[in-house]
Symmetry: C2
Subunit: 413 residues, 2 copies
């Protein structure tokens, strides 16, 4: 009877109803005939973006030209974006800085953090980190003459000691989808006298946060995943107000100057997190992001999280039910320890993902054996989840994943 | 008779005819009723951009979703842009890296340059530099424990000595419009054992370059001025092939990795200048830039320069003729020493610029007393120049610039 119930469309509809966000899927332009479970890599297109960007290009840039820095509000565009982001992160918008890539933002933020612990010589990183974080940490360590230390996988807090200046963690593990307890990690870092920098790329927009209350020190996030800002959209950095005084980083550009338009030869940092800015803001990209974030309007963070958990719970239950032991659920089954992604292990995971894409279900692959499925609560339904697992079960049942045409490797984070 | 001739529209038309680029102004969407002489700050909108960006958003992002990294060529987008830029710079496209802001690109490039001269402790900068360059140079100097030394204004080569690792110069002075001889400066830098890094923000797209032949070592440029890439468009960096081996910078992100999709924990730099990349490329902004650069299609760099010089020559001649001694031409009258901008000094320059804007002639102001006028040869005619100077002469004649409504300070670079 359980089997029947789980796979009954009316069961899916009941779950939808119980976690209703108000038809937010209508705020997205989704291609017909596909179930998109890769919003953890590149979010779907919010419906308001095309028209808003077209207007910015045609009227603000084309007609308004240079005057649009003031007339169209380009100079304050990032502030507007920060105001929309802040409630999802549990922070003050004034403490958010936007505009560079995630890598560059991480570099500046990690560098600034290390300089706040000048008597310490170690950056501590979990080796399960998204690889770029490790590269950037190495770059900062080399630049500052510090040591980069790798913790045991999955247990960075255990490696904390009196040498650690900054502990760099990923809020959600990009491979497994496991969620770290930031409050607990911050407490452990602070007990050791270290600062905590959280990479929230794979959680921002899907896992509501209380960064300030959790006493996290700094955070860096990507906006093109669950925040749906578009391919290569600008990243954001956040610095807790307690650390603002004396905050310095090595790319002091005119946009982080106290008086950007004074064109003075000496740099005077802007107040607060605004000093983390460097160059001219990317107006077109910020405009797209600003419009994209309107898809979150009126959505309670807790309700978003509840629907995300319901979608991933349902996916896991269906996989257990429909796929048996042919795949292993790598993601924690305890919702409190899970982001908004479910990862499955299969020896031919690449072929599984490709076969699913051919069937209209888009997930992605991470070497060597992980198939990832991201669940963006704003635009996915429980019926989507049901249909996706039906296709997955069919792929596994038919050995379709072993077909030669699914044998070429490709993957984009 | 000379006066008559200069201000005769048929004279302007004859100059246009003599420097014809093939009606390239039709490749831009210019607002009616305005003469835009601020393309040195923000270039006008190329006609191909709106449709191309709309397609990228609606179809590549919206329909293609994550698959567009390969299917729509996003992963190679920067390479296509580099191929269009390279002929304007006199370099190989493979040696160009794109994607970050100008400040960030300058930081990485200057840092990498300093590391190629590890036995030297000085970064030499001309104090007439665009201020951000000075801020970033200070940031690099602090990060590497080097000295930032200011030369005498306008004469950096004279301050070269055996301590200088890198000489950072601006190809065109953003205030005066004066053009530096890069070949001669490179020779001087190399004679002192230093590297030359040229900021070509105010020349790229208006002054054709032969960076490789001139033996310049590194260059950084902006794409939203004469290259018309749009507000906050991504910058580019160039590194001469001779310096590629062992080139390192402190923001090694996944996009500069030899195998970006391998997601390996250890960083392996990509070959050549590609290693200068850090984060995910800004796809929407690069798409706009790619479309924008099509406005240069088929235009010979030398012909572009000839028209630019003709426009600025004509502007200067008209100012001399129409404005008498009420303004001072700050820009060199020798075309070989001038970019594509003419700066005028006037004690009420801010009011002059504002009064001109009210009359439909858009220039800009730089403190304390400079009115700047940029001449984008692709979309301006000699009739535009004639009309602009007629308005300028009227503003100066009527003391319109002293009106209180033109008294609020604003300026954007």
């Amino acid at each position: 009877m359980t089997t029947r119930k789980l796979t009954d469309p009316s069961y899916a509809d009941a779950l939808d109803h119980a976690t209703d966000l108000g038809a937010t899927h209508e705020r997205f332009l989704l291609p017909p005939g596909r179930i998109y479970l890769d919003g953890n890599s590149l979010g779907a297109l919010p419906a308001g973006v095309p028209e808003r960007v077209a207007r910015a290009i045609r009227h603000e840039w084309g007609d308004g030209l240079i005057g649009s820095w003031l007339d169209a509000g380009w100079a304050g565009l990032a502030d507007g974006v920060a105001a929309k982001l802040a409630p999802l992160l549990g922070v003050d918008p004034a403490d958010i800085q936007l505009g560079d890539s995630t890598s560059v933002t991480l570099f500046k933020t990690l560098y600034a953090a290390c300089r706040r612990r000048p008597d310490r010589r170690t950056i501590l990183v979990d080796p399960t980190t998204f690889p770029t974080d490790g590269y950037v940490a190495r770059g900062v360590a080399d630049a500052l003459g510090l040591e980069l230390r790798w913790s045991e996988p999955g247990d960075p807090a255990a490696a904390l000691d009196e040498h650690v200046a900054v502990l760099l963690v990923n809020h959600v593990d990009f491979r497994t989808g496991a969620l770290l307890d930031l409050r607990e990690t911050a407490r452990a870092a602070h007990a050791a006298g270290a600062l905590l920098l959280a990479d929230i790329c794979h959680s921002a927009g899907s896992v509501p946060m209380t960064l300030l209350d959790d006493d996290v020190d700094l955070a860096v996030g990507c906006t093109y995943k669950y925040l749906n800002g578009g391919p290569g959209a600008p990243a954001f950095g956040w610095v807790t107000p307690r650390l603002h005084a004396g905050l310095t980083h090595p790319i002091p550009g005119w946009w982080g100057h106290a008086e950007p338009f004074a064109m003075s030869l000496e740099y005077q940092p802007a107040a607060g997190a605004a000093r983390m800015a460097s160059g001219t803001p990317p107006v077109i990209a910020l405009t797209a992001l600003d419009a994209a974030l309107d898809a979150f309007a009126g959505v309670e963070p807790a309700a978003l999280r509840a629907r995300s958990l319901s979608l991933t719970d349902y996916f896991i239950a269906l996989v257990d039910d429909q796929c048996g032991t042919s795949v292993e659920v790598v993601t924690p089954r305890d919702g409190h320890r899970r982001g908004s992604q479910v990862s499955l292990r299969h020896p031919a995971a690449y072929g599984v993902v490709q076969a699913l894409i051919a069937r209209g279900v888009v997930g992605d692959f991470r070497a060597p054996d992980i198939a990832r499925f991201g669940f963006a609560a704003l635009y996915l339904s429980h019926r989507d989840v049901l249909a996706a697992v039906e296709e997955l079960a069919a792929v596994l049942r038919t050995d379709e994943f072993a077909h030669p045409r699914f044998a070429v490797l490709q993957a984009i984070t």
